[in-house]
Amino acid sequence: MASSIRASDTSVGRELGPSRLDGLGGPHPRSDAQGVSAARSSSLWRDGVRRLLRNRLAVAGGVVVVLLCLIAIFADFLAPLPYTKTNFSRLNEAPTRAYPLGTDQLGRDLLSRMIYGARVSMLVGLGAQVIVVIIGVPIGALSGYVGGRTDLVLTRFVDVMYAFPRLLFVILVMSMLGAGLTNIFIAIGLTGWVGIARQTRAQVLTIKEKEFVDGARALGAGFGRVLGRHVMPNALTPIIVAVTFGIPEAIFTEAALSFIGVGINPPTPSWGQMVGEGQQYIRSYWHLCVFPSIAIAVTMLSFVFFGDGVRDALDPKLK
């Protein structure tokens, strides 16, 4: 209900700005937003950014997220040692000056491995969402806009996928395909698009009944133009919100898969895998699983705070 009200509130303003169907991935809506705000003094996006910046918890979350991205990008410069460098004379050592977070069961520097672990988490978090959006949004949009038999077939399929417990299916696919980063993308992509497709379909269903869509059609706009320039830009907000929450979910999925040993291939470090291996020695070497646990917790919390902020900023009516 709330969404239909909002869609009509903003539709007039949004029609003026340039918008693209393919601009769903992340930075594009922002750049579109600047186009809109140049044309009008107050737009959905500018208001959204202002509201987001006022939310201190969301800003803190955003800062941590940016920091984590920087750590992931510059891991090669930040890590004191290569993540594969072993030192067999100093195994399972508690934190010291030489090894600030200690060493693992092969004498590798825990700090370096954690820094490289950020790379895997961020890559999976952001990369998986790109795949999910590329699969989910077109299916949802098509299903909602075309309707009829196409909609029926697609919704049935989506419902079956939805009934399957998500993590169960991901573990099944991963243990069959084998561990590895590419396979994680495939597994999350195969299962993750369902939610976003449902979301998009629901949005498109309400928006396609609006007068301005009829208006566009009456003016002679074709199928692609109506869907791409008139319907989709107005359906963006919930999709962006879904993506911001999808990122921590993908990071969690990777950590969980690596924890049980079907995620990232060793020796590539992943936080989930470090917790999974470290928890076996939790009695004797607490540091092995505590530091990566803290990293996962902080990352997840930051993304959730940031996501909450984005949701509240873009759509104050949603809960």
């Binding site: 079956v160 009934a163 399957f164 417990p165 998500r166 993590l167 169960l168 573990i171 099944l172 696919v173 243990s175 069959m176 395909l177 084998g178 921590p248 969690f252 950590a255 969980a256 924890f259 049980i260 040993g261 079907v262 917790v275 999974g276 928890q279 939790i282 009695r283 607490w286 699983c289 505590v290 646990s293 996962i296 917790a297 997840m300 919390l301 993304f303 959730v304 705070f305 809960k319």
Partner: protein
């Protein structure tokens, strides 16, 4: 309502069949076979031995036949022998481990519902005061942080820093506490968030004002008038909650060394134990489907406006 329940129960069969088919296809469409050596780098079995084994387990037949055989046996409750634990049937293993997972899951769920409702009500009644912040932060941590990470923190805090509970095992009720809490925190957080939101809405509703206006005390207003209505949206959450507890148990059982079914889920998959995979997936699937049905029926009980 009876007709609705019956038709939903009948729908369970095609759903489970579809689930079995998807699992079966994923198992056979991917590279690798249960006849491969279990340990890495080991010598492969001789072709004759592979052929004999394939014949023994029926793996040499065409896929559609294999699936048909599986279904006809599974209907009679026969899932065959496990490929990995060669002397034990799948039913035996499930019958031994499922009750443990069920006990752990039920305890976690009860804790999640009671704790989540309490936190949610406290947060709504004391909105923007200390209790609100405490319960919202607890809920956020529960929702955001994966349960295996929470489990690590719980072990550090309550086994090492304050040695109250053992780090693992399943012998006495004292062992049950930490796994239950670790498993319950995530669903508890979700329930608390939803209860808070719907309580806040209900507290501002006209009928709550009426209840106060006629002189009712705070207790009856909250528990008799507000909570009853605030509870309705929370009931819908219970379905996904079962799924969260079910899949969460893989990790919690691994960390706390609980001899439940979750352990076999991953083991059977990496070991390509076909009969075990099918049985475990279908057990979880059937359990979740039945629970979803129960939740949908409960929804009608709590909200008399809904008719089936």
């Amino acid at each position: 309502m009876f007709h609705y329940a019956l038709s939903r129960l009948l729908w369970l069969l095609p759903t489970l069949l579809a689930m079995a088919l998807v699992t079966f296809l994923v198992m056979h469409a991917t590279p690798g076979s249960p006849l491969d050596p279990v340990s890495e780098g080991a010598n492969p079995l001789s072709p004759e031995a592979q052929k004999n084994l394939a014949k023994y387990y029926g793996l040499d037949r065409p896929l559609y036949e294999q699936f048909a055989i599986f279904v006809s046996k599974a209907v009679r409750g026969d899932f065959g022998y496990s490929f990995v634990y060669k002397t034990r049937t799948v039913q035996e293993i499930i019958a031994e481990t499922f009750p443990i997972s069920l006990l752990l899951g039920s305890m976690a769920l009860v804790l999640a519902i009671v704790g989540g409702l309490t936190l949610g009500i406290l947060a709504a009644v004391y909105q923007n005061r200390t209790w609100d912040y405490v319960s919202v932060s607890l809920a956020t941590v529960g929702v955001a942080v994966p349960n295996f990470v929470l489990a690590v923190f719980l072990i550090i805090l309550f086994s090492f820093v304050v040695p109250l509970f053992p780090t693992g095992g399943w012998d006495s009720p004292r062992n049950w506490v930490l796994p239950t809490v670790a498993l319950a925190l995530a669903p508890m957080g979700i329930i608390a968030r939803f209860t808070r939101a719907s309580m806040l809405e209900v507290i501002r509703a006209d009928y709550t004002l009426t209840a106060r206006a006629k002189g009712l005390g705070e207790g009856p207003v909250i528990f008799k008038h507000a909570l009853k209505n605030a509870f309705i949206p929370v009931v819908t959450l219970l379905g996904p909650m079962f799924a969260a507890v079910g899949t969460g148990s893989f990790f919690v059982e691994a960390i706390f060394r609980v001899p439940g079914m979750g352990r076999f889920f991953v083991l059977s998959m990496t070991g390509r134990d076909y009969p075990m995979i099918m049985a475990v997936v279908l057990t979880y699937g059937a359990f979740l489907a039945v629970m979803n049905l129960v939740v949908d029926l409960l929804y009608g009980v709590f909200d008399p406006r809904i008719r089936y």
